[in-house]
């Protein structure tokens, strides 16, 4: 099984939108699980129409086996380990319990592999606390979505520094070699300036997802971006780039 975390400390750069969209792409290739690791529970409220009985934290607290907490989405072969945004316990687990069990997500990933999943996608919260670090060390790869603006670049600096520190302290950690420049608008000069430098980045594969209202629409309608009806459909460039990301991740 391959595990990919979407993370950047900066908020609102598209971690949830892209992890959901890439999870959809991967579900065409194999059994995929989206792990909602953000106490806000955005991915869950996007892709689930009903609140499930159990959430990820129920599994972490040992109240229920992982297979019992998994919920299917409307997309075939795409399941979710949910987090309740309201009254969810993930935040509490991170604050009270995780320090004594820093490798719990590594164990979770192993169980998901045994359950037959081919891909696991983690949607992390903005921030870089214990919850994010413990999740990151369980991933094979971290993909950093960023918007083409100065604060996102700051976020990238923090991410790279924190990842290096975490790898040193925990003796393991994900590869970081893919960046997604999200909500790219070619009419904005600053976007192009930043993009043009990102393309040259050695050792990194850089993807560009255009600014596209399809994400907002898909989230409002609680469907995957790729399954929006024709009149609300995503831009062809958006769909092509999402597919390209999915294919790259599978390599």
């Amino acid at each position: 099984m391959k595990t990919i975390a979407f993370h950047l400390q900066k908020g609102g750069v598209g971690k949830t939108s892209l992890s959901g969209a890439v999870a959809y792409e991967l579900s065409r290739k194999g059994r995929t699980i989206l792990i909602d690791l953000d106490p806000q529970g955005n991915a869950s409220s996007w892709l689930l129409t009903q609140t499930p009985v159990y959430e990820l934290a129920s599994v972490l607290y040992g109240r229920v086996g992982v297979t019992k907490a998994i919920v299917p989405t409307a997309t075939p072969k795409l399941d979710i380990l949910a987090t309740f945004g309201l009254d969810g316990e993930l935040k509490m687990f991170g604050e009270n319990q995780l320090a004594s069990e820093p490798f719990i997500f590594c164990d979770l990933i192993e169980e998901l592999a045994r359950a037959g999943y081919d891909y696991a996608i983690m949607d992390l919260s903005p921030g870089m606390g214990r919850l994010e670090r413990c999740a990151l060390i369980a991933a094979d790869e971290a993909i950093t979505p960023m918007t083409p603006e100065a604060f996102s670049l700051d976020g990238m600096d923090i991410f790279a520094a924190e990842l290096a520190k975490t790898k040193k302290a925990m003796r393991r950690g994900p590869a970081h070699r893919r960046i997604i420049v999200n909500a790219f608008d070619g009419r904005i000069d600053q976007h192009k300036t930043i993009m043009s430098q990102a393309w040259e980045l050695q050792g990194f594969e850089v993807f560009t997802v255009p600014v596209d209202p399809c994400f907002r629409k898909a989230q409002a309608d609680r469907v995957a971006v790729q399954s929006l009806p024709k009149q609300k459909a995503a831009k062809p460039e958006t769909l092509a780039e999402l597919r390209r990301i999915g294919e790259a991740v599978c390599r």
């Binding site: 600096d157 070619g186 009419r187 990102a198 050792g203 594969e205």
Partner: protein
């Protein structure tokens, strides 16, 4: 008194990007400080077709070609790494 060395937002965005990306790049060698130009010929009329194509993504001809080339090369490099 005019501020000396004041930069436009555009300059500072470019500099910030260069700084962040060169830090990311450290493991792979730093960004080049000097550059060179690539040019090639196409049949008459093609330039316009390409221009229109890239303009749809908000890119100039040069930007579009640069993006396409880097994407292709990196995809190939990624495949080489994956199989090697």
């Amino acid at each position: 008194m005019p501020l000396r060395g004041k930069v436009t937002t555009q300059d500072s965005a470019a500099r910030k990007a260069a700084d962040t990306f060169s830090k990311l790049d450290r493991d792979f060698g730093s960004l080049p400080s000097t550059t060179e130009v690539i040019s090639f010929r196409v049949p008459k009329g093609e330039t316009n077709r390409l221009k229109i194509h890239f303009a749809r993504q908000g890119l100039t001809l040069a930007e579009g070609i640069k993006k396409a080339v880097y994407e292709a090369v990196k995809r190939q490099e990624g495949q080489d790494q994956g199989s090697g």
